[in-house]
Amino acid sequence: MQKVNKLQPFFENLVFEREDNHMIVNFGPQHPSSHGQLRLILELDGEMVVKATPDIGYLHRGMEKMAENMIYNEFLPTTDRMDYIAATSNNYGFALAVEKLLDIEVPRRAKVIRMMLLELNRITSHLFWLACHALDIGAMTIFLYTFREREYAIDLIEDYCGARLTHSSIRIGGVPLDLPKDWIEKLQAFVDRLPADIADYEGLLDQNRIWKMRLEGVGVVTPEMAQDWGCSGPMLRGSGIAWDIRKEEPYELYDEVEFDVPVSTTCDSYGRYKLHMEEMRQSLRILKQLMPMYAQTTPEIMAHAPQYISAPKEQIMTQNYALMQHFVLVTQGMRPPVGEVYVATESPKGELGFYINSQGDPYPYRLKLRTPSFFHTAFLQELLPGHYLADVVAIIGNSNIVFGEIDR
């Protein structure tokens, strides 16, 4: 072992003399296809991975600690920084967990708007995933096309909340704004346009020889492995288990809309690619059903729970008591009942869970963020051995991990 010295580098993983012919390669943290700051210590036998040890923590910001020292509303914008590819899904997961804790009911219009945003986020996330995954494999073209379509979806979100990446577009108890004028028409145009684009991507990739060679039979996740390692979302459905939280434990109005849960039984990366494509189509199907539902709703967008949630702006500006209550809620924060909840939602990456332990204070006593990518990254240590070094990049790209939510 080398002695640690102040100014000389410390080669902790370089082993110069070994009896076998294995080589240890340090992959990342600064690697373009490590999708953030993933460091993998790979033990190679020739080009075959024998052992993989993922190392994380390069983006650790201590979000759980931050949450314990913030009032509930203050923490909401921080959740944007978890899965920053689909920020609204994190906002929503947190808002829903707090609503479950408070036991409040959100108005129907807010539910419709939330679902529209969630499905738009799912589409942007899947488009981004396809772009980066294909780019890692070497298909540059697809990156440019998917980023164009993603831009249209982001434009819609920007029209709604003003932000493109860190949306904070959901509040505890509802949504902050109603849809702007002409937004539904724009959404309709987007929904009409995307199926042809998805067909284009599939035209470029489905029968592409390189794409198939790189993905078919690579990263095979058996159902037992997926359950054992706590996989969720496309990783779980990619191994033949039809588990979608939107379907099985419906929240919002997911029990009122029709959609299918695509499942892949091939268990490999190619199957998961087809699954993502199908999920985008299902999201569009949900969006199509939501547009007429929106027209039938009444204009309330925030829940009525004066103890926990500020009154609408008009009331605050005209009524003394509403203003007083708003002041207390902003300066001190709401005081939820004592107890605990664990609420899981289906984010684009998988099961996003918020565990909140409240002791009746304005700050949560403990908040645990259960993020899908964390468990998918842990899974790499079993998934990677037996593959070639070149497949490592394909598998990381395919497992759709985002470091904001792994390190938190």
Partner: protein, 266 residues
């Protein structure tokens, strides 16, 4: 003058106002018998193990067990009760109040479509048996728990800090962990990297990320008082030539007739 009293056992942020007469309401704990599936689960558990309190809160079963039985109970729960996925596993710090950690295992059964939370308590220096032989997803969850709380796990194949550096002192999610570093912390990196003798040369570490230093012209520009990069700041007002007379700062002269306004994205 007396120093204000500070509770060393909990240095987290506290609400600045608390009503003396405020009694926080409780989330109701429903009877286990109100749900058929949970009732039979608890019955099966009671027949085989020593079970503490069991109730349903917000639709999920919560069962308290003895920490010594954790591996046996989880094995039973996975194999006999079909809770096939361990979605989350972590700890809650009750060291100040009760001198112990509360450990929870958040389980999911995809065939029964039910979620259950198994909980147990361990004292600070006690070891908890690893459940990685039953659920592999506990692998990193246990490492994170050790990293953040210092819960000691036995039987884990690679027990090493996960998020924090290996040489990190203390456990960040404990309530005793300070929110900001003290006097010594601001010199830590300088001492470690350069040596104590460089303290005067470099100065203390700046830890306020929102700090604006008007005298620092390497990193900040003072609008209307711009100076060349690195030069001394000046009080004199400067008007650069791109400045429109009486217009908005920093915007070039804009001619409306030259501008092209797009209706939407092409």
């Amino acid at each position: 003058m007396m120093r204000a009293y500070q509770d060393k056992n909990n240095v987290q942020k506290k609400p600045y106002y608390t009503d003396r007469f405020w009694v926080a309401p409780q989330i109701p704990k429903d009877d286990v018998e109100s749900d058929e599936v949970f009732a039979s689960d608890v019955k099966a558990l009671k027949e085989n193990f020593e079970i503490g309190e069991a109730y349903i809160q917000r639709g999920q079963l919560v069962v308290y067990i003895n920490a010594k039985n954790n591996v046996k109970v989880l094995k039973f729960v996975k194999e006999k009760l079909q809770y096939n996925i361990l979605s989350e596993h972590s700890a809650i710090d009750w060291l100040a109040k009760r001198g112990e950690f509360e450990i929870f295992y958040q389980l999911l059964s995809t065939c029964k479509k039910k979620r259950m939370r198994i909980k147990c308590f361990i004292k600070e220096k006690e070891t908890l048996k690893s459940v990685t032989s039953i659920y592999k997803s506990a692998d990193w969850a246990e490492r994170e728990m050790y990293d953040m709380f210092g819960v000691i796990i036995s039987g884990h194949h690679y027990m090493k800090r996960l998020l924090m550096p290996d040489d990190w002192f203390d456990y960040p999610l404990r309530k005793t962990y300070p929110l900001q570093g003290d006097e010594a912390a601001q010199w830590y990196e300088i001492d470690k990297i350069f040596g104590k003798e460089y303290r005067d040369v470099i100065g203390p570490e700046q830890r306020d990320s929102a700090r604006i230093d008007p005298s620092d012209t390497h990193n900040f520009a003072h609008i209307k008082h711009e100076v060349p990069f690195g030069a001394k700041p000046s009080d004199k007002e400067v008007f650069t030539d791109y400045q429109e007379e009486g217009g908005v700062t920093i915007i070039r002269k804009l001619k409306k007739e030259d501008a092209k306004i797009l209706k939407g994205r092409p």
